[in-house]
């Protein structure tokens, strides 16, 4: 039976969570909903591994929905890049679901927890759909599925501010999606197709028309909004800060990564590298990326809420990825794709720690974290190691990303860029160390309640993530080779 399922894995990957979501609503029971979400996440994780293996050994998989031939039907297409991003999304989902129950039950009212799992599954569906589809319009559909459900997820936050944060994200996210679909519409007008591979073949004829240039502009802004690309990031810090802890973990580790995936897909699989000679998008990305890594790291230093601090750090990290894209070289794209994976590991671990901290002290204000080094030694030790990874200390994944990014800059002869990259990583030392000093050198305030470590089902996922930060920082076979071959196929043209 399994072998007969195997050719249908691409569609199962999307349909499974999509069907599971309404089932959660039918049961309306927290425990059941959690169990469904957990099982689905792990199944998807397994499917991702199988798909990645298949792609590595047999090349890209093309799956035709309802067996309609392209370009009329919708094609699902799995290449190394999409399989790799899918692996990121599902592994994070699997880990987060183990961690979730305690945290969710504390932060979300019991009558709404099943909604959380439902919305999580829908977001999950959307993100997986984006990475797997080979159709530009279908991509929009999944983008909307993931966005709408993530607005709901954010609004589940306990503070009232969560509602305004969600609303702001909703407005800007909708603008972004609309811009994207306008761009797709313009492309359709010029080529009469929506299939990505087909688009890539037909676009060169009309590439220099004003319509296509405008389409590129619309799509760039649209994706930029989802990406949190400076200066379109304004929705992000509040959304991350006020969302329930688990939601922040999941979105921070996956949503922006998938947006970067979209950008890579559209730029390199649809338009191709020639696009950059028609429009100076690469220069624009470089400048915005540089501003992002410097200004957002500087802003992060002055945050008093640890979640907001890490949110600004995320905007800065997106800057690194965009800088990699702006190089338009194999090394640059390798750095970007590697950092997708690496940054997901880093931020997942860090936000998980904050979720654990919130679970114990009901706050993630930095000043309230005083004395946690002693009170929650295992949790905070995890924070240190994951933080080292964020700073790019050798033997962690962060170092690998930094290495490739600097190497890419030097290959281009961009000396100042290489310099600014290291400067910004030093800014990260400052904002990270701020938390460490308070957690380790300040005692717990007098009269504060006794607190203990978090339970094992929270500690374990944290340390699994921290472990992968170190493991993939030393054994780079999988990540570097996958990222490199994905980068090569992107630079080489359509996959």
């Amino acid at each position: 039976m399994l072998s007969s399922l195997s050719p249908h894995l691409p569609i199962i990957q999307v349909v499974l969570p999509l069907i599971a979501a309404p089932i959660c609503v039918i049961f309306r029971r927290t425990g059941v909903a959690w169990l469904i979400a957990l099982v689905v996440s792990w199944l998807s994780f397994g499917i991702s591994i199988v798909l990645l293996e298949q792609v590595i050994s047999n090349g890209p998989i093309s799956y035709l929905l309802g067996s309609w031939p392209t370009p009329w039907g919708i094609e699902y297409r799995v290449d190394i890049l999409s399989a790799f991003v899918m692996l990121i999304v599902t592994s994070i989902g699997a880990i987060v679901m183990i961690f979730a129950p305690n945290s969710v039950h504390m932060e979300i009212p019991p009558d709404r927890t099943y909604l959380f799992y439902t919305m999580y599954l829908l977001t999950f569906t959307g993100l997986l759909g984006i990475t797997i589809t080979g159709d530009a319009f279908n991509l929009f559909v999944f983008l909307e599925i993931s966005s709408l459900s993530s607005y709901v997820l954010i609004s589940l936050g306990a503070e009232r501010n969560a509602l305004t944060a969600a609303l702001r994200y909703l407005i800007l996210g909708t603008v972004g999606a609309t811009f994207y679909i306008i761009g797709v519409g313009l492309m359709y007008q010029m080529t009469g197709t929506l299939n990505i591979t087909d688009l890539a073949e037909r676009l060169p004829e009309v590439a220099s028309t004003k319509t296509i240039l405008v389409a590129i502009g619309f799509i760039t802004v649209g994706i930029g909004l989802k990406l949190g690309l400076f200066p379109l990031h304004v929705w992000l810090p509040n959304a991350y800060a006020y969302a329930p802890s688990v939601v922040t973990v999941f979105l921070a580790a996956t949503a922006t990564k998938v947006a970067v995936y979209m950008m890579l897909r559209v730029y390199f699989s649809i338009f191709g590298t020639k696009m950059f000679s028609a429009l100076p998008i690469d220069e624009l990305l470089l400048i915005l990326g540089l501003i992002a890594i410097l200004s957002m790291s500087a802003v992060a230093i002055y945050q008093s809420n640890a979640k907001r601090l890490l949110a600004y750090s995320s905007v800065a990290q997106v800057g690194y990825m965009v800088i990699g894209i702006s190089m338009v070289t194999t090394t640059g794209l390798t750095a970007t794709i590697l950092h997708l994976f690496n940054h997901a590991m880093i931020k997942c671990a860090l936000f998980l720690v904050l979720a654990a901290v919130f679970y114990r002290i009901k706050s993630v204000k930095i000043e309230d974290m005083a004395g946690l080094g002693k009170a929650m030694p295992y949790t905070m030790a995890a924070f240190i190691v994951a933080g080292f990874s964020l700073l790019g200390v050798p033997l962690t994944v962060g170092f690998i990303s930094k290495w490739y990014l600097i190497l890419g800059a030097l290959e281009k002869g961009w000396w100042p860029v290489a310099g600014l990259i290291v400067v910004s990583s030093l800014l990260a030392v400052i904002y990270f160390w701020k938390i460490i000093e308070i957690a380790y050198f300040k005692p717990r305030p007098e009269g504060a309640a006794e607190i203990s470590e978090v339970p094992l089902n929270m500690l374990l996922p944290i340390w699994v993530m921290v472990g992968s930060n170190v493991y993939f920082g030393m054994n780079t076979d999988l990540t570097v080779s996958a990222a490199m071959s994905a980068a090569k196929s992107l630079i080489g043209g359509a996959p």
Binding site: G392, I406, L407, V429
Partner: protein
């Protein structure tokens, strides 16, 4: 198998650190483990020496880190010498630590011994690194694992100093050194340490100078001015840390890396052809003199010693930058000579603190009569700093001077002469006042004290003796230094 021995020499202190954690509740057992680990480490490291002296260069690759970049350990003469110093002095320092930490009732002793063992493992990682990447990784780990030692007391001034420490060391290594390493990799496609260097023919012109600048200031642990401020800041640590780590292991890791980079990355011939090291001679010379002058004005004993260290480190840098074979040999021996001397001085400072809680030079009048062993050792080590025979310091200074003379580098010769006078100026008065002046009884300190606890006295006597022995039995260091310059 010498290859496996390399791995063991790094693994043993790491295993020891786990043992220390596990036995943290039983202090005596914990200290026994520290001592056993230190002795075993030294024996294992020492067992490599005959192989290296015979001209073999055992090497082992752990894994491939990135395509073409491997984690490799290779033992060559310079690393051998550094490894011997680090692991050998760790034994003495552990004995000393026991006396000091207990004598001063320090908290969190388990954490202290734990990070100490990890620091030693990273020092050996630096010593035996087979390429620049492996060295860089160990270098960064050393910075991070010494941070908890520097901030051991947890007091506000310790936290503040910790910031300076971490800020400067990480800032230079990430901001400059990493850039230099990636550049080297980009230009040459290798990061291996090779006799004759790897950069020849790959970079030229101004790039050589920029690269040298990035490396020299990127190696913040060598404390070249103006990136020296972390060293006085680190003096806030308990004295055993200042003694072994901030007079020997960490700072020597810095100048060791400097010598490695100049000898095995750039290569002598390449550098002397491209004439880019002169500025380095001047900067190092300036650091020697400026740090000595600052040292003269410090009343806090440990800070005075710290500035003296900064000055002595630049001896190694200057002697290497002259690029004369003899002076480089002097630089190599100076790594060993300064190590035994300076650790003795810090041992003495900690001994005084433990017995009397005095920290300032001006409080030390007449103390030599109460603490003859401590101040005797202090005197011998001071003579070594100045370079008076029969101490190890004379040996290294002699070679450095000979080297400078052989290429007629009069600036370097002048610096060495003036600096010797300055050294005399800040050490001799301490010794004189300690032995020949009466105690003033005015500073409110209790004068009814004797020597420090026995472990402390044993340790500082041992290293002071070592300072003299190294003069008479310099065979192994000389032979290793000879091999570094390729004779």
């Amino acid at each position: 198998m010498p290859e496996n021995t390399i791995i063991w020499s790094i693994a043993i202190p790491l295993l020891g650190s786990i043992g220390i954690l596990l036995t943290g509740k039983i202090a005596n057992l914990r200290e026994t483990i520290t001592l056993i680990t230190a002795v075993t480490t030294f024996l294992v490291v020492g067992s490599l020496t005959p192989t290296v002296l015979d001209g073999a260069r055992p090497s082992i690759t752990l894994f491939e880190f990135l395509p073409g970049l491997k984690i490799t350990f290779t033992v060559e003469p310079l690393g051998m010498l550094f490894g011997l110093i680090g692991s050998g002095l760790w034994i003495v320092n552990s004995i000393y630590s026991i006396g000091y930490m207990r004598g001063n009732n320090e908290n969190n002793q388990t954490r202290f011994y734990f990070f100490f063992a990890i620091a030693i493992a990273s020092v050996l990682g630096i010593a035996f690194a087979g390429n620049m990447l492996t060295l860089f990784i160990s270098y960064e780990i050393l910075t991070l694992c010494t941070f908890p030692l520097v901030t051991h007391s947890g007091k506000p001034e310790a936290v503040k100093s910790g910031r300076t420490y971490l800020g400067i060391l990480l800032g230079t290594s990430v901001g400059l050194q990493l850039l230099a390493i990636v550049w080297t990799w980009h230009a040459t496609g290798t990061l291996d340490f090779r006799a004759g260097g790897i950069l020849d023919g790959k970079v030229s012109g101004a790039a050589v100078s920029i690269l040298l600048f990035l490396y020299m200031y990127g190696i913040g642990k060598a404390a070249l001015m103006p990136v020296h401020r972390w060293l006085p800041a680190a003096m806030v640590a308990p004295t055993p840390v200042s003694a072994l780590l901030h007079a020997v292991a960490v700072v020597k890791a810095g100048v060791f890396t400097v010598v490695k980079v100049i000898v095995y990355i750039f290569g002598f011939e390449f550098l002397s052809e491209s004439l880019t090291t002169n500025w380095l001679v001047y900067v190092a010379g300036f650091t020697i003199l400026a740090a000595s002058i600052v040292a003269l004005r410090q009343d806090n004993l440990k800070r005075r010693l710290a500035y003296s260290t900064i000055s002595q480190l630049s001896y190694v840098i200057m002697a290497t930058a002259i690029l004369a074979p003899l002076s480089v040999m002097g630089a190599v021996i100076h790594i060993a000579a300064h190590a035994v001397g300076k650790i003795t001085l810090f041992f003495a400072a900690g001994s005084i603190y433990t017995a009397t809680h005095k920290t300032e030079v001006s409080q030390l009048n007449g103390i030599g009569r109460k603490m003859p062993w401590t101040m005797g050792a202090f005197a011998i080590a001071s003579l070594s700093m100045i370079g008076v025979p029969p101490t190890a310091g004379f040996l290294s200074k002699w070679y450095m001077l000979m080297g400078a003379l052989s290429v007629e580098h009069y600036f370097a010769i002048g610096v060495m002469i003036i600096s010797t006078l300055l050294n005399t100026g800040y050490f001799i008065p301490i010794i004189f006042n300690a032995f020949f002046k009466e105690s003033d009884h005015k500073d409110g300190h209790d004068d009814n004290h004797g020597e420090a606890p026995l472990p402390i006295v044993i340790a500082l006597t041992a290293t002071a003796t070592g300072t003299v022995l190294l003069f008479f039995f310099a065979g192994i260091p000389l032979e290793l230094a000879n091999q570094v310059i390729g004779k």
